[in-house]
Structures are given as C-alpha cells and as structure tokens.
Subunit: 207 residues, 2 copies
DNA sequence: GCCGAAGGTGAGCGCTCGCTTAGCGCGGAC
DNA sequence: GTCCGCGCTAAGCGAGCGCTCACCTTCGGC
C-alpha cells in the first residue's frame, strides 16, 4: 500500500540495482518481506506489487531466496558504510560514537522497511548466503568496537567489558527496527539524538 | 534436536498446560517456532517432534495459530510476573531497576527458545489475539516505567525523557533473545549483571 | 524488411500445506 | 462379557505454493 512515500524516506534506495524491472521487483520484495516476513510472502505477491506476472520474477532472479540474499547484502553494506563514515571522521571518540549511534539509529528508524528485512530475516537464508552476511556483521561489530576502544584508550570512556558493551550498543540500535512506528510520536532524528545520549552514558563518557 | 536440556534451563516450563499430550505438543511448537519461525513450521513437524501423528494436533488445538496464541500469552504473562516481582520488592529504585533488568535479561537469555517466539512472532497472530498480547505488553512497559518514575521522583535517577528511556531499556533486554547464544562465552547470569550496570548508567543512577 | 536477443505473459506442473474424516484400540462402568 | 467414549491414527481433501515452459512482443543492427 505504501510504495513511494515510505521508501522515499531512505536516501536514493536501491539505485545500484539494474535494470529497472529488477529494481522494481526488489523494492516490492522489501516491502512484502517487511510486512509479512519472508516465509509468509509469496512470489505472486511480490510480482503483483511490481505490476508484473508471477513468471517475470524468474527472469531477473533464480529463486525467491536470491531476492532476500541481494536485499540483505546491499542493506548490510549500507549499514556498514554508515558506521565506517562515523568511525573515520575527525573528532573525539565521544563525538564519533554519538555520530555513529545517531546515524545508525536514523537509518533503522527511517528505513524501517528495509532494516526489518535486513536484521530479522537472516535465518531464512541458506548456509552459504548466511555465512556471507555474518561476515559483514562482524565488520559492523568491529567498527563500533574500534570507537569504544579508542575512547577507553584516550580516557574518555570508562568501560569494563568492551566486547559486551559494544554488543549492547549495537543491539539497542538494531532493535529500533522492531519497535519504531512511522506514525508514532518520535521522528527518526529524535530517536537518534535520544539514543546517542543514552549510549554515551553507557560507556561512561563525560563523568 | 534439543528437547530436554535446553528447555530445562527454564524454571518448570509450561506446567500449567494440561493434559500431558497438549503440553508435549505446545513444547514441540515452541522449539519449532523458535528454530524456523511460525510460517516456516509445519503442523507435521510439530506433531512429529511430539511423537504423534499430524491429526493429533487438532484434538487439542483448533488451529496452528491457536498454538502460537497460547504460547505468546503464557510467555507474556511470565515476563510480566518477573517484572512485577522486581517492581514491588522493597528497596530503592536503583535496586529494583537493577533487579528487574537482570532477571528480565536472564529470562530472555536462559529461555531464549521461548522468548524468541514470544517477542518475534507477534505479527503472525490474527488481529484479536494480537490486540490481547499488545495489552499485556503495555502492562510490561508500565511496570518498568513505574520504577524509572520512582527513581526520578526520589532524585536517584536523572532522566530527561522517561517514556523514551523506558522504551530503550525494554528494547535492550528484549533484543537479548535475538542474539544470545547458548554456546557463546557468556552465561545468562553474566549478561544480566552486565545489562543491569549499563541500564543504571542510562538512567543516570549514582552520579 | 528481416532476424535474433531480451524481456515479458498465461497456463499449469508437481508438491506440500493446514486441516478433516472415518474408523481403530483400549480402559472403565455395569 | 459388553459396550461406550476418549484419544489417537491413516488416509486424503482442496488450496496455494515455488517454479517452469511454450510462446509472444518489442526493438536495435544491418
């Protein structure tokens, strides 16, 4: 039901997917997977949302799972890039962590449709695709852990369990995709600001 | 594959479900839903895990969805009870919040099988069942918010956005069910302790 | 003007799904 | 001993699934 407006919240989404018909199918799949879940979505539903016949899907994708795989990889790459930009900018560890959390949360809230699929449908992938995505997740974890370690080294942060705290920070951000409601009282920007402040407290910044 | 050991981590699970055959089916459904998700689980799989024929399921439950509904209600009631006990014990808001978080997290980590179904398969319920469960969730939220409000009133906590912070605390705890791994490096007790400390920092306790 | 490739459709295959139905075995009442 | 009723099974129904196949259109190159 929401085709243009909701996905427009994401910055130029899926621009790298060509040709046009393949992108329309992929966008339709993202919406359907986010609404109903991978297993509850039919190939007929995806094709119908894209305005095509059921058979058209198989011209551009070998299986329904390949669609999920493509969505998941592109989404994880986008998430990783967001964190890489925040981690590599100039500034203190405090500033970089706040930036990382607020932009990561904005992505999960604003692009909730995509983020839901990316974060919660991993188990529906086969072993090989799943392993590839898990490797991307470890790089996501490493980016955040790097900032936390920098802050501990510089004395800005006070963290006893770096790995556990990093896990908690990422977990907090990712779960936004589960509960965030576009019609709710908060904008993605507001949640990003709130969460950045909470995370700085979690790492003991500014004590 | 894991029948006795994993569910044994939960305290006397599903003791209220009778008769015995109905309980065995329900436990089998919890395991299957947690492993594969509701839509990817077949009624034949559930019956098979319980050592019965596919038709046996329909003697005790009207539909597959009724199984999920029962699991979800019992699970939410258990979660709510855990928080009620922590919220109503004697002690400062700081002590009660730490208790609530650590016991809530222990439940999500130790009973990850159940918690996964309870927290992540809500969308697979029909509108009526879903509305009933959402009412239980609001009560869960109210319990935690009550503790946070008490802490703010007594001056123990420093929280600008009580509702938003409560949401974040619950979100952090719930997401444990997604990432916790029984074979991982941490016990449920360790995660509970770690998270209680992080949450106290989030609410600005002991500054 | 003709041709081949690319991109699409309508029909439908084989299969498995949730669920139903007819009937079997067996323990307790009398 | 007989019979009832409960708990269960074997078999299978109609429907909808992922996916395929034979065929049709459109269009750039020559």
């Amino acid at each position: 039901m929401t085709t243009a407006e909701e996905t427009a919240g994401e910055a130029q989404p899926w621009g790298e997917v060509t040709p046009d018909a393949a992108r329309r199918l992929l966008v339709a799949a993202v919406e359907a997977f986010a609404e109903r879940g991978y297993h509850a979505t039919t190939t007929r539903d995806i094709a119908g949302r894209a305005g095509m016949s059921p058979a058209a899907l198989y011209i551009h994708y070998k299986t329904k799972e390949e669609l999920l795989h493509r969505i998941s990889r592109i989404g994880h790459e986008k998430a990783l890039e967001i964190l890489r930009v925040a981690a590599r900018r100039e500034g203190s560890a405090t500033e970089r962590l706040a930036d990382a959390v607020s932009s990561f949360v904005r992505w999960h809230a604003g692009g909730r449709t995509t983020a839901r699929v990316v974060q919660y449908e991993l188990d529906s992938l086969g072993p090989d695709a799943r392993a590839e995505i898990l490797a991307l997740r470890r790089r996501v974890d490493a980016e955040v852990r790097g900032i936390v370690e920098d802050g501990v080294a510089s004395g800005e942060f006070d963290v006893a369990d770096v790995q556990g705290t990093t896990l908690a920070v990422l977990s907090l951000c990712i779960d936004v995709a589960r509960w965030f409601n576009v019609d709710g009282p908060r904008t993605p920007e507001e949640v990003g600001e709130l969460y950045a402040g909470l995370v700085l407290r979690m790492v003991g910044a500014g004590r």
